[in-house]
Amino acid sequence: MSADIYEPYFMRVEEITDEAPDIRTLRLVFQDEAEGRKFDFRAGQFGLFSVFGEGESTFCIASPPTQKGYIECSFQKAGRVTRALHDLEIGDTVGFRGPYGNWFPLDEMKGKNIILIGMGIGLAPVRCVIWNCLDLRDDFRDITIMVGSREVGLLVYKREIKQWEEMSGVKLVKTVDPGGETPDWDGEVGFVPTVVEQIALSPENAVVVMCGPPIAIKFTLAALDNLGFNAEQIYTTLENKMKCGLGKCGRCNVGNVYVCKDGPVFTAAQLRSLPQEF
């Protein structure tokens, strides 16, 4: 990269997957293959994805670092940039700056029971960890994946959920909010916190990685607390609005913490010590 910290890499859209209405995943490859080979990141890190002429938007890298040669991002059409990203076709150009921020402590998670909870579009950062763990399966003990969605149609990564379901050595629990089920739904019906308590996840030698809407995080934390999990063994991410990703533009701070630099990954204990401004 040049000395210009705001200059993006040039990426090419290689694959587009429709996940749910208005939610898409783009697979991107580096236009400069040498840069692509040099590029490395850790699960949990994020980047600024841009459409030239429309602007930049912040997403986590949703593909795992164990799968080389491309990165993926999943996003919901919501504003100017996500609308433009949604309109891209295979072969189109995307700008990318990153990787930024900290990551999930995969090294410390080795030898432990791993519980991965993704709620709504929050499954994107968790998916990165899921594949990262599955690609290094022998490093971990039990792997439990839990996915939650408002309704069946809004579940993202449906194909992959099926794959995880069929894998040996993975326990998959999927749930939709009451009223969100369809006649052929074969998963649970209930809010994630309720289901978490029902299936009685065990805190024993466990690490939890959990992402989702703030309200879902809040109640799921309470459920985990009831089950005896302590706040140090639960990791989540903050998703504050960002512009630079470099600790300069002053937008993403929560108290004296810059989410782009000190985060986006925090333990539940760290979240509790922050001002409630996220």
Binding site: D4, F52, G53, K248, G250, V254, K261, P275
Partner: protein, 340 residues
């Protein structure tokens, strides 16, 4: 060290000597009824007597809007170029106040933190800051309350102090300042040491030591809603502030070409933290004004070891509803003192 002095009437000659050395000279001049920093063509325009320009010297290093990227669309493909300058123009700023100069040292920390912003540093490296000590500060000034001084040297390369007999004493602070003295040596006279300098008094308004401990403990406090009740969320305080540095990044383009722009922003504006989902972590004026005060007096101290306020008073002067940050912070410090 003060070895030289400049006769006030010979300021123009100093300016011309600098220009002769290839400096672009920027100084306070009057423009449409306001005082602003601009490139000086005629040294006669320079107004070293102006206490407070409308905006600070921040914009000479960090412009209100600047492109970081330009690109062109052609036949379905994009070509793009970083707008980072090879080098910035050699510049001398004459006549900023010590508070403005101090803001540069504060912002150096931010722009060098981990990722180095060369847009800022290329201009910093190419610029010599010649400040003028304040002989007549006014009631909005509170530099002494935030660790500064009307004759402070932080951030300055050369400090000029007015004397009672029509001179400026010149104190070189850095190597850059010394090379200005060298450039202008034919215009300068040796200082005698018995000059009487005219430096005004800025009374202390609050004890900075009490501020951060109170802020650290009172994120949740009625004080924030009370003081911000009249705030209009217009953001002018951030735009005139020498240390406010929050910015936005936006694209502007037509069908053929476009630019990616970095432009000033303000935490007082409701859309600053608004998510696309509609969720806003700082949805109230109280939360936003608290952010402004916390960022300057608590978070910046945690991150960089200094307060991000230089006490220039611009935000208070410019505020349409007369919000005064000095009063707000003094109020916080006062509550801290009252409770001890």
């Amino acid at each position: 060290m003060t070895e030289f002095k400049l006769k006030e009437a010979r300021l123009g000659e100093l300016v011309n000597a600098l220009k002769g050395e290839g400096y672009r000279v920027v100084a306070p001049v009057e423009e449409e009824g306001a005082f602003v920093f601009k490139e000086v063509n005629d040294p006669g325009e320079i107004r070293l007597d102006v206490l407070r320009t409308a905006r600070s010297i921040k914009e000479l290093f960090f412009p209100r809007v600047e492109p970081t990227l330009s690109y062109e669309f052609e036949g379905g493909s994009v070509t793009c170029r970083s707008e980072i300058p090879e080098s910035a123009r050699k510049t001398a700023i004459i006549g900023c106040r010590p508070c403005d100069a101090a803001s540069l040292t504060m912002l150096d920390k931010l722009f060098d933190w981990d990722y180095r912003d060369e847009y800022w540093f290329k201009r910093r490296e190419a610029t010599t800051v010649i400040s003028v000590a304040c002989d007549a500060p006014d009631s909005y000034c509170f530099c002494t309350s935030v660790g500064g001084s009307p004759e402070g040297t932080m951030g300055s390369d050369l400090l000029m102090k007015k004397t009672s007999d029509g001179y400026y004493l010149l104190e070189a602070v850095t190597e850059k300042g010394r090379s200005v003295l060298e450039t202008a040596k034919d215009v300068l006279e040796p200082a005698t040491g018995d000059e009487e300098v005219q430096v005004g008094d800025v009374p202390r308004q609050f004890d900075l030591e009490h501020v951060k401990p109170w802020l650290d403990k009172n994120f949740e406090h009625d004080y924030w809603d009370e003081i911000s009740y009249k705030c209009l969320s217009c953001g002018v305080c951030a735009f005139v502030c020498p240390t406010c540095h929050c910015f936005d990044i936006q694209d502007e383009a037509d069908l053929e070409r476009g630019v990616r722009l970095k432009s000033w922003d303000s935490c007082c504006l409701p859309i600053f933290t608004l998510h696309a989902s509609g969720h806003n972590p700082r949805a109230t004026r109280g939360a936003r004004y608290r952010q402004r005060v916390m960022h300057k007096f608590a978070y910046y101290v945690d991150k960089f070891g200094m307060t991000a306020c230089v006490g220039c008073g611009r935000c208070s002067v410019s505020c349409p509803i007369d919000m005064n940050i000095c009063t707000v912070v003094a109020g916080a410090a006062g509550q801290a003192e009252a409770s001890t």
